[in-house]
């Protein structure tokens, strides 16, 4: 049997996707019995869905930094 920590690691690191059928079954079996892990994964999925709706992970601070860099280069010439 997998432990909870292993199940979370396997799924959060996408190892589940590339796992063989037997490994997948063992993970699913654990999830069927463990509501904490199930909740955890549901939250990870919701997180991704929220970000997909938001559309971008570029941070405002990074945009500002890029702007500043471009301005600096322009004024340098």
């Amino acid at each position: 049997m997998y432990r909870c920590s292993e199940v979370i690691r396997l799924i959060a690191s996408d190892e589940y996707q590339t796992a063989g059928p037997f490994k997948k079954l063992r993970i699913r079996l654990h999830l069927a019995m463990c509501r904490h892990c199930t909740r955890y994964l549901r939250q990870l999925r919701a997180l991704a869905a929220t970000l997909r709706e938001a559309g971008s992970t570029v941070l405002p601070s990074e945009i500002e930094a890029a702007k500043a860099q471009i301005l600096q280069q322009l004024s340098g010439k």
């Binding site: 979370i8 690691r9 959060a12 690191s13 996408d14 190892e15 996707q17 590339t18 909740r39 955890y40 549901r42 939250q43 990870l44 919701a46 997180l47 991704a48 929220t50 970000l51 997909r52 709706e53 938001a54 559309g55 971008s56 992970t57 941070l59 601070s61």
Partner: protein, 156 residues
């Protein structure tokens, strides 16, 4: 007396304010307690009158009436605002939480979840091994989730 805590506090305060204001009119012909009780009595009945007046018509009653038809069915059912509010709030928080995720983890997460690229493509693009990518994704996802949990927003 059937008043709420707030009402009680307001009443006590207004009684003492009235006492201060009216103390000059107190001629000492009765006990000060009687005088105080008289003020109290007036304040309570004044408050009750105001409360009754307030209860007669409140605009929210008309709003509620317009929501139903004559047979009592919803004419204007409630909108599902809680979901929309949650989504908006969550987006803002996720953005804040993204600030805590290191750049390489964020890129991996972005390519995987938003661009929905395949693992191999991402590895090629980022020039890292599949194991490395797994670690980045694992850390990015958990970091974000922890951050949201701390802010008390993850829905279970």
């Amino acid at each position: 007396m059937g008043f709420s805590v707030d009402e009680n506090q307001d009443l006590v305060q207004s009684v003492f304010v009235a006492l201060m204001e009216g103390i000059g009119r107190f001629e000492g012909r009765s006990h000060i307690r009687t005088f105080l009780f008289g003020i109290f009595y007036n304040k309570v009945s004044e408050h009750l009158r105001n409360r009754q007046r307030a209860e007669v018509n409140d605009p929210i009653d008309e709003v509620m009436e317009s929501r139903f038809d004559l047979s009592g069915k919803w004419r204007q059912p409630p909108l599902d605002i809680d979901k929309a509010l949650f989504a908006r709030e969550a987006r803002g928080l996720v953005r804040e939480c993204l600030e805590t995720v290191p750049r390489s983890q964020r890129i991996a997460f972005y390519l995987r979840e938003i661009e929905e690229m395949k693992t191999q493509e991402i590895c090629k693009k980022m020039a890292i091994s599949a194991t490395n990518l797994g670690v980045l994704l694992f850390r990015a996802r958990n970091r974000l989730r922890e951050c949201l949990e701390k802010r008390g927003l993850t829905r279970s």
